[in-house]
Amino acid sequence: MNLDRMLPLLLGGAWLLPLLAFAIIALGGHYLKKTSSQHRAGFLSTVAILGSFVLAVVAFSMWVSDQGLGEPHHGPEFERAQLEENQTPIQLAALAEEGEAEHAHDGVFSVSGVWYIWAQVGEQKFEIGYYIDALTICLFVMITLVASCIHFFSLGYLQEELETGIKDHLVATSAGEPFERVGRQHRFFQYLSLFCFSMLGLVLAGNLLMVFIFWELVGICSYFLIGFYFERKAAQDAANKAFLVNRIGDLGFLVGIMALWGVLGTLTFGEMSTKLAELAPETQQQASPNKTTIQAASFLQDEEAKATNDEETADWNVGLLILAGLGIFCGCVGKSAQFPLHVWLPDAMEGPTPVSALVHSATMVAAGVYLVARCYPLFTEEVLLVIAYIGVITLLMAAMMALVAVDIKRVLAFSTISQLGYMMLALGVGGWSAGVFHLITHAFFKSLLFLGAGAVIHALHHEQLLIRMGGLRHKMPWTAGMMFVGCLAIAGAGIPGLDWGLSGYFSKDALLAQAYAFAQVNPSHVYLYWLPLAGKALTAFYIFRLWYLTFAGKPREKKLYENAHEAPLVMLIPMMVLTYFAITAGWQIPFTPSSVTTILEQALPAVASFETPWAAALNYPAEYLSHQYHTKIAWTAIATAGTGFLLATIFYVWQGLRPDEVQKQFGPLFRFLQAQLYLNEVYHFLFVRPLHGIARACSWIDRHLIDPFVDRMAKGTVNLARLEDQGDRKLIDRPIDWMSASFYDLAVQLKATQTGMIRQYLVFLVLGTVGFFFIVGYLWQL
């Protein structure tokens, strides 16, 4: 079989099928709608994505038969490392260096090429091409599979959109009645098909500019899908917000592309590594897949005259490379909803639930993680460290927000943010395959959870508040059961002794093990392990809180409960498929030593970590070295997750602790989290309002130029006099009044901290001490 020829054909076909469906629906939507009773548009779309799935599977099997499934990386050094488990960190690092030399790797096999020249200026070409390796193929299968399931689910979920008179109870007309509109299922499938096309294009793209094109296209699809119920103000705002926040990230991405173009002169994935190597002509390329040290010093030439000059060029290049890495990561921060650009994702839940399942959990938001994985060789140590820390901040923050969310979809949205944070962390600490593996497992169990939530919302007639649910397991046993599996998967349930568990168990285990290995050799970044571990307890807590509140206990709203019903089969079957994969995605493929990870590891890029002048001298443990910690980490992780589970059970089943009491006790913190750290307000105050201010200022300047100049001169004198008077009042009196008033207010507010509670003072004392040691210890180690 000729992979070079067949793969582009197959994957290109899989890529273009949804576009075809989109074009047909877009141009012939009117006709398709007229025969609405047969929902043709939906079928067309579904058939297209199924076709893509089939093509992707064929491509996958061709790949496997040609390239094999990959072998787990257990070298001889692994056993040795296991023997010497009680080594000190320094010895371990030395061991890692030693092991790398033996761990030779014959490069990444990929198929790349050009479909057509997009634009050519002089000698510079911009092409529409493809780059296919194991990662591309795995993601193609994952995306088309999840998308197929969700297309089917949508056929059921959006059944009512086929009717001609739909009452939207969330929109009240001026007459006070619910707004009535014509259903538009075909529009939904049109957008969904366009999205699938863009997402597959993003994964298939052969160069960064093409990635950027599809990056924006998935953004606009997300815009359309979030704003599907565009009658609702909230949906419009959410759609705008999603696109604009993403644009902020994209600006960074663009800067990254520009910087990369400046330093490498190419944006094609296939050429990047060669160009990177060219940057350092006398590279000491160690024969290692995971860490190639290109020392800045090697830029130095022999000739004295050239030396300083070249060094500066090298510095500049490395600086540009860091900028490029940070810029590209900035794009990923936007798309993957990482802190501080995560604010759009919770609002994006305004879209229909299948959209949340597909776009805002499984695929589009994972595109950021994909891009980081794809551009991995570009990232210097500083950038990776930034990625890791952003990931940690995100995962903790989002998990805490999920603790207090009351909307079932929002809990899942925060959970998505948190899990994306885990992936970023894994990539940041050198766990390339762990991060990508978690991307894939997460896609399955999170879309399962979202579809479950969709089934619940569908059954309750668009009720999303957790506090109005409860006891639904009697009415919807299948949904409850499958969602429970999903919860177990996201919490990473498994049995460490037998090395058996759901998919999330394996991916999170790999991820935490890598973080632990990283913390072992970089003691100053030990929190990169501790905090994710703590996050795991939170994960288990919030996800089971969701399940208990929805399905366990007694029904809280009798009327809603009475009308609830199990989802129809067209919705249940996709969920079953996803359940199957949520359970098994992490398992070994029968009769082989391989699993999804080993297939992915075929695409493991060689990391050229530049020893930059500003480097914090980090050690990146090779990923296979972290295998030795798996058992240890698995126990720890299970214990942590178990704590979270236990706590959730104590709270919501045994009612040993009372949630409302806790809520009262932590009132301010609770409100702070529920308001999403007031970030929306802060952004509004810091960015949106100043921007509008500048805009108004620009407009104002124009009008002043329009005004007759003489006119202004005539009125000038009078105005001057008035201005002086006003100036006295406003510029001198007002600030002084304001100052005194605000000092008084401040004092009144500060008074509240003096509660007089002895035990509370004690808590502050302890937290302060711990914080002090944290800061001092951290700075010291730095």
Partner: protein, 112 residues
Amino acid sequence: MFTQPIGVAHYLVVGAILFVCGIVCMTTKRNTIGILMGVELVLSAAILNFVAFSQPAFRVDQEASLGIDGHVFALFAIVLAAAEAAVALAIALNYYNNHSTIDVDRAQDLQG
């Protein structure tokens, strides 16, 4: 576990657990006497650390131990702890006399 010799670190871990127990005791007990008990635990943890640091056999570099200094400080700490207990108890009794309760949460006279 039992084949490894004991080092300062082991004592420190025990001390840390005692310390944390003391802290938790102080923050979760509303009973004045309970808080006093927490204080005792915390002091006990500190004394334990003094003693551990003064034993040269507990560490690789035997010269670095505190020696007799640690013992003397431990003694002082014990004595002061005893004195502190006496005074604190006196205060607690007084508080009880005045407020007819030993619930510290009621003692909010310092509220701003």
